[in-house]
């Protein structure tokens, strides 16, 4: 893209500024302002931002609401966990087991040898390729099967939700192969490098933040390409796109695969930073939460989705520490509030309210044209303050939760929003 183009394109300018601010927040402000423990927590939140970015492309732009992104998150997470688990299960480390050299949970489940399909995960290159290729293959199969048959809208949402349910049941049921409900735990090293000390966690945070920024750039590229406009066109007038000579199913499948890869990479980074992977992050509830991150951030905004994931997760941590049983109600209320009051989420609030305000203030204060560094990001400041323990997010959520709502409307509203 030529630079001369950027001057004449306010959308591109806004996106570049947004990216730069996000990079400054993730790579400078947060690492400077947080201790290793809190930074690791933010690293975990960022993993969900990968999923939210994918959902912006699939759902916000393409109108494909997947309530099963947790499955792809799990694919990446489990692939990484399998590799780490095998590395942690050397014959020496497991010599007290009745079958040394296999993961501990297999031994507890009376397995005598490593299942064949676990073998390739001894190899790091294979694992890294699998983290990309598995979700692509799986999303391709689902996408082709559904989109060629013209399954869309609510039906697609329900089917993906069913897939998430099946995935959880399978993982829990096949304890000997998957670690069951406890998941795969006690992970130690990545290719000999210990992932548990604070220093490693800081490094992993930077890797995660870097990959996330890369994903955001990629998503912005897709959004700005003709493919992005075709997605919007498809969402609004699918037949017109089809009869303009496009193979609509191929486009839907592509964007669904892309969203799946983003989710999978997020899952792999999650395993690395948290040190375990479990079916609780694969199922229906986390999958719906991922959609909420995206909705809160603004389902048409790649950058907004990242803030959405950060803020909702931050609120969850603060809130569920004090009132764990109310969290789901709070989240449901938040979702309904966002859908009704701010359909384009945080990004919409930023573009419609804050940007004009800043522009007015700037014009009043200075006579020189807007300096790109001048508009101060509102997000970085509250975030760092939150992390210091003041939790302003919890206060808002407290207010919301005084009016408890049944948890089910959440799914309902999510499905309706897809229409």
């Amino acid at each position: 893209m030529r630079l001369s183009f950027s001057a004449s394109d306010p959308g591109l300018r806004r996106q570049i500024i947004g990216l730069a601010l996000l990079a400054a927040l993730l790579l400078v402000a947060l690492p400077l302002g947080l201790d290793a423990f809190r930074l690791n927590l933010f690293g975990k939140y960022l993993c969900f931002a990968f999923v939210a970015i994918g959902l912006v492309l699939c759902w916000g732009m393409g109108g494909i609401l997947s309530l099963g992104q947790g499955v792809f998150f799990g694919l990446g997470g489990y692939a990484m966990a399998m590799y780490l688990k095998l590395e942690a299960s050397t014959p020496e480390a497991t010599k007290i087991q009745s079958t040394p050299g296999i993961p501990d949970f297999m031994d507890w489940n009376q397995l005598k040898a490593l299942p064949l399909w676990w073998e390739p995960f001894h190899s790091l290159p294979f694992t890294l390729i699998a983290i990309i290729a598995l979700p692509v293959a799986f999303a391709f199969i689902i996408g082709t099967a559904m989109f060629r048959r013209r399954v869309g809208g609510v039906y697609f949402a329900i089917i993906t939700q069913a897939i998430a349910a099946i995935a959880t049941i399978l993982i829990i049921g096949q304890q000997g192969y998957t670690g069951g409900v406890n998941g795969i735990t006690d992970l130690r090293t990545l290719h000999g490098w210990d992932i548990r000390p604070d220093s490693a966690r800081v490094t992993l945070y930077f890797v995660c933040a870097g990959l996330l920024l890369l994903a955001a750039v990629l998503a912005l590229f897709v959004q700005r390409s003709k493919l992005g406009r075709i997605l919007i066109a498809m969402r609004d007038q699918e037949d017109r796109v089809r009869f303009s000579g496009y193979d609509v199913a191929a486009f839907k499948t592509f964007v669904f695969c892309l969203g799946a890869v983003f989710a999978s990479v997020g899952g792999a980074m999650f395993t690395l930073q948290v040190g375990f992977m479990s079916p609780t992050i694969v199922g229906i509830v986390p999958s719906i939460e991922m959609v909420i991150f995206c909705a809160v951030g603004g389902r048409l905004s790649v950058i907004g989705a990242v803030y959405g994931a950060l803020l909702v997760n931050l609120a969850r941590t603060s809130f569920s520490e004090s009132f764990p049983e109310l969290w789901l109600f709070g989240l449901g209320a938040l979702f309904i509030a966002v859908v009704m009051a701010f359909p384009s989420g945080l990004a919409g609030v930023w573009v419609e309210r804050i940007e004009p305000l800043l522009a007015r203030l700037l014009r009043r204060k200075t006579t020189t044209p807007a300096d790109p560094n001048a508009p101060e990001a509102p997000e970085p400041a509250p975030l760092t303050r939150d992390a210091a323990g003041r939790r302003p997010g919890a206060a808002t959520l407290n207010a919301l939760s005084t009016n408890p709502l049944p948890a089910t409307p959440m799914t309902d509203a999510a499905a309706r929003a897809a229409l």
């Binding site: 390409s225 493919l227 406009r229 066109a233 017109r240 496009y246």
Partner: protein
């Protein structure tokens, strides 16, 4: 019709579709010559829209054949039919309301139609010139940066016609292109259509008789999914069966 079938650009024979036993189109034969402008008329529910749906692959036929040049369209996917050179305008204007007029036309520009082609698509000078040229033809050259949702009903109809023109199809099918237009808009549209039908074949569905008179080479009258009458406008107007169907309606 006793001419050689190969002489025609579109040969429809025995075309039938049945929806749960109800035959919306029943054994229809239709022959369209190169550069012909055929108007299909008929009372509401006669099956006119369904015929176009069958030709462009939107509805799957129960029987019969649709040959376009030397291709059997009934066996092809919708996007392949478009690439073969068949363009279709819908009865209700279908434009992308969230995109600008420019972007609407750009999506129909016949390049970058694969997934990766669309990713790599560049808005070069050739694209921009072609879009500007088409926009002029459809009276929208002042509205290129406007969101299509903000256009008037008539302008949306023109935009959709423009989206077809940019594909340069050999067979253009228009479903009620002047429905809901003001008298002035109708006149402009007739002028537009007369210009664009010059070097291609066109099938138009229309109710407005003065408009039909303006553009038709031949007229086909459909009734209950079957061909009722065919010929010049004067010929079908004089056909007592046609009068009966329209009066009875």
């Amino acid at each position: 019709m006793f001419e050689e079938p190969s002489h025609f650009i579109l040969t429809v024979e025995g075309l039938t579709v049945s929806f749960d036993g109800f035959k919306a189109v029943d054994g229809l034969n239709l022959y369209i010559a190169p550069n012909e402008c055929r108007v299909i008329i008929g009372p509401n529910g006669a099956g006119k829209t369904t015929v176009l749906d069958l030709i462009c692959g939107r509805t799957k036929a129960t029987g019969g054949s649709v040959r376009f040049r030397d291709m059997e369209l009934l066996k092809m996917r919708e996007d392949q039919i478009v690439h073969a050179g068949v363009g279709r305008k819908f009865q209700t204007p279908s434009v992308y309301e969230d995109l600008t007029v420019f972007e609407n036309l750009e999506i129909s520009y016949p390049k970058g139609h694969g997934v990766f082609g669309a990713l790599a698509f560049r808005r070069d000078a050739a694209v921009r010139d072609r879009i500007r040229d088409i926009a002029e033809q459809i009276f929208l050259d002042d509205s290129l940066e406007k969101k299509a949702g903000l256009l008037s009903h008539g302008q949306k109809q023109w935009l959709e016609i423009g989206m077809l023109l940019i594909q340069d199809p050999q067979l253009l099918m228009l479903d009620e292109p002047v429905a809901g237009m003001s008298v002035a808009e109708r006149r402009k549209t007739a002028e537009l259509l007369n210009r664009i039908i010059q070097d291609r074949s066109v099938i138009v569905i229309e109710h407005d008789m003065s408009f039909v008179e303006d553009i038709a080479t031949r007229v086909t009258v459909l009734h209950q999914g079957k061909l009722l009458s065919e010929g010049s406008l004067a010929h079908v107007k004089a056909d007592p069966r046609v009068a009966e169907v329209y009066l009875g309606h």
